[in-house]
């Protein structure tokens, strides 16, 4: 028997929770069909998390791609199918990626498994994104270096701690009609690895904690800079990400296991700083949103 997991029409960080809720009651080896036929929009978080979903299943999952040609074409251009075809059994045709001059995809879905991948990602983002970050988001050239650093640190964490490869994607959006009222760039870095809780199981924070769960592990790692390694220089990567996101009025959210934290919530958005007891999902999923810089008064 195959359980059908419906992908919402608009797939982003929040709506991916509905996908996790459908998966949660199922055994890891249950056969599932991820049905994205009616999906019309997906963010970098949504696309990379779908790949993590496939990685998290003991039994290879089936995947029904979007029926809408334009949506499917975008997913193809974003390199989603390139990797989905390896991880899922596809139920339905997928278009071949065609060049479109779509400059809003700053970095297509890209695997992160080894140090060389991070070098390639940082090189590509500088090559492709600098012009967009400076012209569309009004960021100073120096800020684009911080952007690349954020990417490199987030991707490095997968290599150092996740225990299996993950995915990164970067996209620009015009959010003129949303509350933020300006262009933004979204970074999603997702993996289906061991997650913060297991990674920090041997840490001093774990030894000293009265209670230990995914939320505490997330806060220890992301906010307090705790690492599983005793080296005092560890934990600086996430500290650097937090500093960059805060400085550029961005938003940072991290989900791992059954918890999600939003350590940096800008004034232009609302969110819960911490959510516990969510349905479990493998690994760690990080999202950064950097908005267009406001002109100084």
């Amino acid at each position: 028997m195959t359980d059908v997991i419906s992908v919402p029409a608009s797939l982003d960080e929040q709506s991916f929770e509905s996908v996790i809720e459908q998966l949660a009651p199922l055994a890891p080896d249950a056969k599932v069909l991820v049905d994205a036929r009616h999906c019309r929009f997906a963010t970098p978080y949504g696309l990379t998390a779908l790949l993590c979903l496939a990685q998290s299943r003991a039994e290879k999952a089936d995947f029904a791609p979007p029926e809408d040609d334009q949506v499917a074409s975008y997913w193809a251009r974003s390199s989603f199918f390139r990797y989905a075809e390896e991880l899922y059994t596809m139920r339905g045709a997928t278009p071949r990626p065609r060049a479109s001059g779509d400059s809003d995809v700053l970095l297509e879905v890209t695997p992160v498994a080894k140090s060389e991948d991070v070098h390639a990602i940082v090189g590509r983002i500088q090559e492709k994104a600098t012009q967009i970050l400076t012209s569309k988001l009004d960021l100073e050239p120096r800020a684009t270096m911080g952007f690349a650093m954020t990417l490199s640190e987030a991707c490095s964490n997968i290599i150092e701690h996740a225990g299996r490869g993950g995915w990164v994607m970067v996209q620009r959006y015009n959010w003129g009609k949303r509350r933020v009222g300006r262009d933004v760039v979204q970074i999603a870095v997702c993996d289906a690895g061991i997650g913060f809780r297991a990674s920090l199981e041997s840490s001093r924070a774990r030894a000293l904690a009265d209670r230990w769960d995914d939320a505490i592990a997330l806060e220890s790692g992301v906010i307090q800079g705790v690492s599983r390694l005793q080296d005092p220089g560890r934990g600086q990567g996430l500290k650097g990400i937090r500093g960059y996101v805060h400085r550029f009025d961005g938003k940072l959210t991290v989900r791992s296991g059954t918890a999600r934290i939003a350590p940096i919530i800008p004034e232009w958005d609302e969110d819960l700083p911490r959510q516990d007891a969510l349905p479990a999902f493998a690994g760690t999923q990080l999202q950064v949103i950097i908005p267009k810089r406001l002109a100084r008064p």
Partner: protein
Amino acid sequence: MTHISVHSALQASLNAPYSDLVTRRTGAAVRTVIEHQLAGLADGTVAFLDFSRIGVLDRSCADEFVAKLMLPLTNDHPSRDGYVVFHGVNEMHLETIEAVLHTHGLALVVQFPDGAAHLVGAVTDLERRLWELVMREGCCAAETLAASVGVTPEEARAQLDGLARRRLLRRDDDAFAPLGAAA
């Protein structure tokens, strides 16, 4: 005095045409190459590490490269009798380097494009004032500097000894001198 290109060390260590110092693995590899180069220098040599062709420097890499390069040089039993000055760092490099230096209580000398040398990292106000005096005046005895910073000669000597032990100044018998051309 000798010049070491960090960019060349990066390319040699990874055997690839990268210009960015990212990931801990890269930091460790570059450090190993540079430590090997430093080990071949005569005692007392000032090595200028040139970052001028380096793009992104992230904190994890900087911790693995910069902090772990400096730590063995500055403890009570230094791994070698030599000095390191950073050169060609941009504003973003400097911010990252300072962050990792503070984490480890380290400091180092950075030479800016105009030739001026600056002390960056974890130093007290008194240490900085004494260091700047030595940079301005050249080789000085502690007694000469003490009055300028309003401390006793003993206190000035203790502070200057600390700076010399951290490889931020050079000892010259009873006096203290700037590092190489950084003066």
